[in-house]
Subunit: 120 residues, 2 copies
């Protein structure tokens, strides 16, 4: 598929897809004329990238992480370096803290909402 369809199927803008490629997160074949051609797998990959972005990982870290993931196609995957494992563990712990903080904030909001709803 070409970039427009991938954008439609993932809900990610064409601009962002080109950015992902520039950052080494996404690869594409090119048509004879130079237009990007994506495999079906790209859909899942883009969604995964978005999830990692949403979790607060930066593109550089994602670029290191992606090749170490189990490939659904069974393709060869790189071996994670001890350094990367350390980094990812730190990220995971950061996410844990973030989830805990969000739960706190959620409780705060809920309290305001409940109080306000009673007053209405």
């Amino acid at each position: 598929m070409r970039i427009g369809e991938l954008a439609r199927r993932t809900g990610v803008s064409e601009r962002s897809l080109r950015y992902y490629e520039q950052q080494g997160l996404l690869v594409s074949d090119r048509s004879p004329g130079g237009q990007r051609e994506y495999a079906d797998r790209a859909v899942d990959r883009v969604i995964l990238i978005q999830e990692l972005f949403a979790a607060g990982l930066h593109s550089k870290k994602i670029a290191e992480l992606l090749p170490c993931m189990r490939d659904p196609d069974g393709g060869p995957n790189e071996r994670a370096t001890p350094q990367l494992v350390t980094d990812l563990t730190a990220e995971r712990d950061r996410i844990d803290r973030m989830i805990a903080d969000l739960a706190t904030s959620r409780a705060v909001l809920d309290d305001v909402i409940t109080t306000a709803a009673q007053e209405l």
Copy 2:
């Protein structure tokens, strides 16, 4: 207390504290010479503001929300508008989704970490 101490006690930079005031999130008395003077309660308020920022709320929304919160001092608090309740409910739902997404990302990271750790 003055701004330096508040910064120390909250872990928030002086720059940010002035920004919060500019955005209407934080109030301060002023010394005769014009320096900010904070009540002890400011500490809790700043921490709360940080939590809400961390939850992804923007300063404008926080500025609307804060006056509607139950005041620990029992001070008069404004009544939340139906519009605000709607907005806050949307924020809460957004936070719920964010927590769920983070849990997904956490699982992804955990998988990579576990796999990598086995290989080492």
